[in-house]
């Protein structure tokens, strides 16, 4: 990494925790436990890069994205955006910062209000932040539609008149309306058909170059994440287990969970599939209410040792030279 890389950091997440209370009782609600959805994750995202966040359902990857944007109030830890702490920010200042951080949601059917026209959906952020009104707003919306590859004359149509892929484009246009620096893409393609997925991913890649965007790309599809990301973080049960650049992660995965996850991804080639040996993980992901002691992957880990039950593995950089390869495992 270069000398001035420190200045290039756009987002810095440190020991972020997001717990949701589990309550009991009908009238008087007592807190009986916590769902540790995100339990101490740390990473940085550099300006202009894409960090992929992968993991299975329920591992806390979406919660991480939302906690970063302060859509949830994090239980602990810090989120710094351009060096400024977001978790303690309030009121007008937070509202100002929100302009610069946007989100694209997974479900293109649920994330657009069916009773608003496309023009109003995309134009709403412009009005909320007093950026444009009337004719100016309309022109900006039409420009945004053009940017995401839709016909500008669609402004008066309603979401139901569009297909899933087109709706996702509307969602992208809405996210772009305020010229953000940072976009959390929360599984933006998993609800789409294969032939449409590539259209959206290519568009996201082009927009990134055009507008200098920084992405946190959340997904469970490892091959797609590898395709779009510069660096990839693998999450398991509320923690990041491994983080490195896309090539290293694929060529030289170190954490047993990453290895199993990669080996489970089918490759569309029957000759390769015949020769591959899979690491099949036993059992299911444990409950985040009561995660296992020590390393939380130990209950399914094929290389479990005695120490794994006792000590939580340290998050350390095992990369050679100046290469970054972070992993949390007692094997290293």
């Amino acid at each position: 990494m270069s000398e001035n890389s420190k200045n290039n950091v756009l987002l810095e997440v440190n020991d972020l925790k997001m717990y949701f209370p589990v309550t009991k009782g009908i009238l008087i609600q007592r807190k009986v436990a916590d769902v540790k959805a995100v339990d101490g994750v740390s990473f940085t995202i550099k300006r202009g890069e894409t960090l992929g966040l992968v993991g299975e359902s329920g591992c806390g990857k979406s919660t991480t994205g939302r906690a970063i944007l302060q859509l949830y109030k994090p239980t602990g830890g810090s989120v710094k955006f351009e060096g400024e702490e977001l978790t303690t920010m309030k009121g007008e200042r937070l509202r100002q910062q929100r302009r610069r951080m946007q989100m694209i949601f997974q479900d293109p059917y649920a994330s657009l209000n069916p009773r608003m026209t496309v023009g109003n959906i995309i134009g709403e952020p412009l009005e909320v932040h007093n950026i444009a009104k009337g004719k100016e707003k309309r022109e900006r919306v039409q420009e945004l539609l053009r940017v995401v590859g839709l016909n500008p004359y669609f402004v008066n149509r309603y979401p139901h008149e569009f297909s899933g892929g087109q709706r996702q484009r509307i969602g992208v246009a809405r996210a772009l309306a305020l010229n953000p620096d940072f976009i959390v893409c929360d599984e933006p393609i998993s609800a789409l058909d294969v032939s449409i997925q590539a259209q959206i991913v290519n568009m996201l890649k082009d927009l990134q170059i055009e507008f200098g965007l920084t992405y946190l790309f959340i997904a469970h599809d490892l091959s797609m994440v590898r395709y779009i990301s510069d660096r990839i973080a693998v999450m398991y049960l509320g923690k990041i287990v491994e983080l490195t650049d896309y090539d290293t992660l694929y060529e030289n995965p170190q954490h047993p969970y990453t290895q199993a996850l990669l080996s489970a991804v089918p490759i569309p080639d029957p000759y390769i599939e015949e020769k591959r040996t899979r690491i099949i993980l036993e059992g299911d992901v444990p409950s985040p209410i009561n995660p296992p002691s020590g390393c939380n992957f130990r209950t399914r880990c094929p290389r479990v040792m005695d120490i794994c039950a006792e000590v939580d593995p340290e998050w350390k950089n095992i990369g050679a030279d100046d290469q970054e390869h972070w992993v949390a495992c007692h094997l290293y």
């Binding site: 299975e56 359902s57 297909s163 892929g165 087109q166 058909d193 294969v194 032939s195 449409i196 997925q197 590539a198 259209q199 991913v201 290519n202 469970h220 490892l222 091959s223 797609m224 590898r226 395709y227 896309y246 090539d247 694929y250 199993a260 996850l261 990669l262 080996s263 489970a264 991804v265 089918p266 490759i267 569309p268 080639d269 029957p270 000759y271 390769i272 599939e273 015949e274 591959r276 899979r278 099949i280 993980l281 299911d284």
Partner: protein, 336 residues
């Protein structure tokens, strides 16, 4: 190999207020005993409706099987009486669905739901059925099978529920198992478990399977033969190795090029298929893929392409498949 199932010219339409949806528009194929046939396609291409029609699980109205024959072990399933088809469903032909959360009854125990079919189809008494149910749960790898029999579906995880569904499907030793996107709702590591399980069971029991999916990766690892569907029609069919190495139809080729591969470089750009799938109510004349096809010529939008047999096991419905292959070999093929 002996033929287990033969589908001839099957057409299933839905008569809706907007018009007639031609969900399945004349498909024909054969399935041998013990074979695994994958049907691939995007949502709305008719792959699910196509197999639901086989055992007449189409809601009528608005749906209707308007033409075709489905010969299973020599008898036409479409001509059977309701009682007769009920004897076939769940017994000779079993089906497992995409969503293991909604296909089990939440207020009945797992044991009850498995035993029901055993008592109904095989005439077992409660004792026998319970014993068999335990065997089945053990076979699909559910630990502590005897105790778990009295658990309710919500006490199982998604992967475990899919295992229960498979156990139910296998309970009457079916000749044919229809699996409709059985791993789509599951995580990759759980998907690998289920695929592994089905492979093992197939070797042990030797039933034929129709596996419906949109995931070309899963198909590569499990299928013997693949059918690619688009807008209610079969556009290509081939043995699995042949299909991936020599796709003949522009749609198959497009699908393969639009998905990123874990073993491929980061910088190769994905080539999406432009445009959208057609509206099945208002199908354009000619080849349904024509509006999105880069090989389109005038003829494609005028005449429906015939199905050509390139080899006895490889068929394709495209006017220009010869040009597609010629281009492929020029560019060094999809991969070798």
């Amino acid at each position: 190999m002996t033929t287990l199932l033969e589908v001839k010219g099957l057409k299933t339409y839905f008569f809706t207020e907007e018009g007639v949806v031609q969900a399945v528009n004349g498909i024909s194929y054969k399935l041998d005993k013990g074979e695994l046939l994958a049907i691939v396609g995007e949502s709305g291409c008719g792959k699910s409706v196509g197999v639901m029609s086989l055992i007449r699980l189409i809601p009528q109205p608005p749906g209707k099987i308007v033409a075709g024959e489905v010969l299973f072990e020599g008898r036409d399933l479409l001509q059977m009486s309701d009682d007769e088809i009920r004897q076939v469903r769940g017994n000779r032909i079993a089906m497992i669905f995409q969503d293991p959360m909604t296909s089990l009854n939440p207020v009945l125990t797992i044991g009850f739901q498995i035993m029901e079919a055993l008592q109904l189809h095989l005439g077992m008494d409660k004792e026998q059925a319970r014993k068999r149910a335990i065997e089945l749960l053990e076979m699909v790898g559910i630990p502590g099978a005897e105790k778990r029999l009295d658990d309710y579906p919500h006490q199982f995880s998604g992967g475990m529920r899919q295992r229960v569904m498979i156990a139910m499907g296998l309970s009457c030793n079916p000749q044919l198992l229809i699996a409709d996107e059985p791993t789509t709702a599951l995580d990759v590591t759980i998907q690998a478990q289920i695929v592994d399980l089905v492979k093992g069971l197939r070797e042990k029991i030797g039933m034929a399977i129709i596996w419906i999916t949109h995931d070309l990766g899963v198909v590569a690892g499990i299928a013997d033969r693949v059918i690619v569907m688009y807008a209610g029609k079969i556009v290509e069919e081939a043995e699995v190795h042949d299909l991936y190495a020599n796709p003949h139809h522009p749609y198959t080729l497009g699908l393969l090029k639009s998905i990123p591969r874990l073993d491929q470089g980061h910088d190769e750009k994905l080539i999406p298929i432009e445009g959208l799938p057609p509206d099945l109510v208002d199908l354009p004349p000619g080849c349904p893929f024509a509006p999105r096809c880069s090989y389109r010529v005038d003829r494609c939008t005028e005449e429906d392409p015939p199905t050509d047999y390139v080899t006895p096991l490889h068929r394709v419905a495209c006017w220009r498949w010869e040009d597609v292959i010629a281009d492929q070999s020029k560019n060094g093929g999809q991969r070798v």
